[in-house]
Symmetry: C2
């Protein structure tokens, strides 16, 4: 079989292009790197289009025999370590990456869950990935994101999700406001996180609620705050009123978990 | 006055060196960048040794008149924009940085607070900074860190603290185990976060407790788990048992906040 050794190879050029959102959108695919991410993709039955393997790593111990057995079921392409270094985005590559089809065809909202998370312009890829991971950890199946949110298929986001990207359905809303209005018709109440004049997250009931998390610097957009049924906030004890967006999301979501486990919001 | 225009200038070389932990330790100083971080340093009365200003920014609108009035009270050095670009670590520099003395002389543990956080080998600078920020947000005055934890004065950590680095006393422990043994003598109980066979964080009382957060990949070191009085965990509802370390810390700390506000752990 052929081992790709040239940076001018079409596949290599294509993978390089996929670092850009424009091309990811055009081809409806994204890239994942590393053994753990690939393993999860296989387990979760993600739509793997191609697996790229560094020829040197094949001989190394990084990929186990069992893993190679699974990998070989897919369309595999081998590249030289020079080419792999050229296309990798991580500092210590594990010699394996995959092109995966986005899981975004179905945009139907699932109304069977207690809460629906909505992200209004979360900008930092690390924050977005960590939020997806947290949402996944409590078993929610979906998340709504506004147009101005970071691309969930950005390599840094994908990495921080630790596999949640395969399980959580990310619904990209052309106009989050309109989507929220639609959801209100389905008997959900909208809660917007906000600093001023808000109810404590420890005093609300998490049944049939949409919780909107705002942009790192500016919070939830004014128009969305206006259409919300309630403003909520995390009460703080320190001098600052400052929490990282993904930490804040975790605190809000796990108060839901606590209430669910304890069977009370007291 | 002189504007430094050469990369060979001693001060410029010194600032470059301070990117290395070795030199930060040697000189007991660290670097902060940006107007917000500098403003907080002034407000919090941090020990500012020198302020470096980009000569072009002086003419720009980024620094307000009031801010310049405050800045001028300190030892200020001007550099050309070429030199500033050479020494900056951020992508969109605001044209101002400062050399600040570390706030680490006093290593006394404050036993007057309900909880003491201890970090066992937190590796990721972003996680460490975000954890300091969360600790600050609930008004705790201190945090213990193990030898293997990321350097709290690393520029990326400093940035993610959003100013908490000036307020939270970071106590670097040569041997975290020994420090914890010492603390036990002061009637504090040690709680180690752990996945297996642990008590839910919603079933513990947060009075006179040390909470140990473990390394991102390996959790709390076995020896520390052994000397702990109880193992605690965050109950999850999803398929994975995976949370980002800074999110996990936020969830644990805000359960303390909730209990404090509600006056109960029920």
């Amino acid at each position: 079989m052929n081992i790709i050794s040239s940076k001018d190879n079409e596949l290599v050029k294509n993978i390089k292009k996929l670092k850009d959102k424009k091309y990811r959108d055009l081809e409806n695919v994204y890239i994942v790197e590393g053994i753990k991410m690939l393993k999860e993709a296989i387990v979760e039955n993600a739509s793997i289009k191609q697996i790229i393997i560094c020829d040197d790593c094949e001989k190394s111990d990084l990929i186990s025999k069992e893993m190679m057995y699974e990998i070989a079921k897919y369309d595999c392409v081998y590249v030289t370590s020079k080419v792999f270094k050229y296309i990798t985005e991580v500092q210590t590559p594990q010699g394996v990456m995959a092109i995966i089809e986005k899981n975004n065809r179905d945009k139907e909202i699932n109304y069977d869950e207690d809460i629906i998370m909505a992200l209004d312009d979360i900008q930092d890829p690390g924050n977005l990935g960590t939020i997806l991971r947290t949402i996944d950890s409590i078993g929610l199946s979906q998340v709504l994101i506004s147009k101005g949110t970071a691309d969930p298929y950005n390599p840094k986001v994908v990495r921080s999700t630790m596999g949640a990207i395969y399980r959580v359905k990310v619904i990209e809303c052309d106009d989050l406001k309109e989507t929220l209005k639609e959801i209100k018709k389905n008997k959900f109440k909208i809660l917007a996180t906000s600093l001023d004049d808000s109810k404590s997250i420890y005093d609300i009931k998490y049944n049939k609620k949409v919780i909107v998390i705002g942009n790192e610097a500016n919070g939830v957009e004014e128009e969305i705050v206006k259409l919300s049924d309630e403003k909520i906030k995390i009460p703080m004890l320190g001098k600052t009123e400052s929490l990282n967006a993904s930490v804040a999301t975790g605190i809000v979501l796990y108060e839901y978990v606590r209430q669910k486990i304890k069977g009370t919001n007291k």
